[in-house]
Structure formats: C-alpha cells, structure tokens
Subunit: 203 residues, 2 copies
DNA sequence: GTCTATATTCAGATAGAC
DNA sequence: GTCTATCTGAATATAGAC
C-alpha cells in the first residue's frame, strides 16, 4: 500500500515535470501570452484539461517556470564561482560567473531562457510574486562586483551598480543573437570579459 | 471640392496615427500578444471595429509599429552622428550614437521601445517582413564600428561583430532597468562608453 | 490521473446602418 | 469614417465518466 502510494506520487511528479518542461520550452519560443495550454499539453503528451490536475491555472505554471528559471541560473553561477581554484582573483571570479550565466541561459535551461524573455512583459501580480527570487540573484552579482572593486580588480571610480545592469543586460540579450554554430560559450565569455575589463580602445 | 477631399484625407490620417500611437504604447507596456484591439481602440478614442477602416488586421498594425520603430531610431542615430563636430574622432562618434540610441529608445519613441521589446517574440512571418529594415540599422552600426577600428579608435584585435551585439544588447536591455529619476541619459551614455572603451579594470 | 464534453468568455474580424 | 450588432473560432477552465 505504501509502495503503491509512493509509486503513484512519483508518476504524478513525472507528469508534472513534463508539463513544466513543455511550458518552459513554449514560453521560451513564443512567449507566455502567445502560448496556449493546448500546445503545452500536446508537447507533454496529454490533454489540456489534464493539466488542471497538476496546476491551478496557466498563471500558476508561469510563475513556477519563472521561479525555477532563476533558481537554476543562481545555483549554477553560485556553484561555479564557489568552485573557483584557490587564490583565483576577482577578475577570474567574474569571468567564471559570466560564463556560467551564459551557459545556463543559452544551453542548459529553457526555464532560465523563458524567465529572461518573459519577465519584462509579465503581468504585475506575477512579477510581484516572483520578485524576491530575482532580487536574490541580483544581490549575488551586486556582492560579487562590489567585492571585486574592494579587492582592486575593478577601478575605484566605477559605478558597480550600473556596471551590473550593463553587463547582465548584455548577457541576457545574447539570446537574441546567439548562434550554436558560431563561437563557443567559453569563447564568448572570454571576449566579453576582455571588453569589460580591458576596454576596446587601441593603445 | 478639392479642399474638402484634402480635409477628409487629413482627418483619416490623424485617426490612423492615433491608432498607431495607441498600439505602440500598448505593445510597449504589455507586449503584442497580450494587447487587444479593444485596448488600442479605447486609448485612441474609438471602437475596435473602426480600426478596420484604417488597417487590415492586428498583424498589419504590428508590422507598421515595428517598421516605424526602426525608422525612428535609425534616423535619430544617423542624424546625430552626421551632425558630429568637424574633426570628431571615432570614439566621439560612437559615443554620440550610443546616446542617440538610448534617448530614442528610452525617451522619444514608444515605437522603438515596442520594436525592441516585441521583435524577439514576433511570429516568423512578421519578422521576415520586417527583417530588411532591421538589418539596415544593424549595418549602420557595423560600418561605424568597422570604421572606428580602421581609424585606430578601436583595437585591431577586437571582434567588432561581437562588440556590436554586446553593446547594442546592453543598450536595448536598458529598458528593463532605466529609471527616469535616476542618472540622465547623457550620463548613462558617457559611463557606458567609458566601460566599453576604457574597461573597468583598476590600473 | 486522464479523458471527453462542455461552459464561459473574449478575441479578431465582418456586415451594414448611419 | 464610425458606429452597433454579430459571426466565428479559440482560449481558459470546470464537470463528471472512466
């Protein structure tokens, strides 16, 4: 009995995840408003009505996709930076964070891509409920860049608040132009960091 | 008779513009898919059905908003650069272009903002019909940065193609965080150019 | 848990009066 | 040119059988 209950819980959990995966993919491709529950259901291989066994509403799915999207990228970036070799300087740490951010957004997570694409146009109530999680990730970058400046990796007179918006913005926008057949993400991260740290002006 | 015809043409033209203005504002705020003709009509002070006297479909309006959005920013940026003082170097020219791009996007044109926000999620047929205009503006930046490198304002080993995507991306993303009560657009342009040309690394 | 059937609402779009 | 009335389709969501 206990086993059967456990097995059923697991099946439900798997279906739930299939629905979320399908939703993340569609939200990434066409955006939240243009995606229908029918499309999500087809991708997840069930009927639209069945979704309501797992979720309360379309908004409910959306919010969870947004939350997971941030969780994924925050986890990836934090862990990548934490795994930096002993004695890595802050330029190196920022570089690692940039690469992890790009990799998650462009390769690893439809959830993160869906988040970045849709958050700006999300209805206010949803933005509000998602807000704290987003801030937490933003805070991570704030601390990282502030510490980098404190440690002398970034010039004293730099407005790190603006630098963060500028840099993260450029990274997020890469969704619009990234070509999997072009430069690798490692390479992109490297060149972008060179732009930001060294500047492009000729000597 | 000629006068009356002319007057009526003008009225039609004005209404048409009111509709486009309303559409651009709504597309900027909520996105294309989430905006209804009813909302556009209310803002333009008429009924949804009346829109069809002026436009063939919602897509038709969308496409025109996209086109106007690019035309506006292209015009502004090109003219600003063309008006650069004699003997301005290329760093100065890029700076001027950055400021004009930001000003149009953030202050002067709902059309441009609507374009930037919605193009990425636009249905493929519309993207295709809008594509050439977008390319033309992209080409302007390509030439500007290539010439800047040729003239020694940008280092020889810089991938200006990536630099363009990186820089324009960062500028476009400013919509997400720009605060009219914060730093002025002049100031933002200046600091962003300093990031890109000089880099943020401490000496 | 998932299905079919359906309620409800509202979107884009058309017809025809004024 | 703009209106009211309306068509048609499709969306989210619910009810209840299996």
């Amino acid at each position: 009995m206990a086993r059967r209950a456990a097995a059923e819980t697991k099946k439900s959990e798997r279906t739930r995840e299939r629905i979320l995966d399908a939703a993340a993919l569609m939200f990434r491709r066409k955006g939240y408003a243009a995606t229908t529950l029918n499309e999500i259901a087809r991708l997840a291989d069930l009927r639209a009505a069945s979704i309501y066994y797992h979720f309360g509403s379309k908004d409910d799915i959306f919010l969870q996709v947004l939350d997971i999207g941030i969780d994924r990228i925050y986890d990836e970036v934090r862990e990548a930076v934490a795994a930096a070799p002993d004695g890595a300087d802050y330029r190196r740490k920022v570089h690692i964070a940039v690469e992890a951010h790009l990799a998650t957004l462009l390769k690893h997570s439809d959830y993160t891509a869906a988040n970045i694409i849709n958050y700006g146009l999300a209805p206010e109530p949803i933005r509000r409920r998602h807000h704290d999680r987003r801030e937490a990730y933003g805070d991570f970058w704030r601390r990282l860049l502030r510490d980098a400046r404190r440690n002398g990796a970034i010039a004293r007179n730099t407005d790190v608040s603006l630098l963060r918006l500028f840099l993260i913005g450029a990274l997020n926008w890469s969704q619009e132009w990234y070509d999997p057949d072009g430069k690798s993400i490692k390479r992109l991260a490297k060149e972008i960091c060179a732009f930001v740290f060294d500047g492009v002006e000729a000597e």
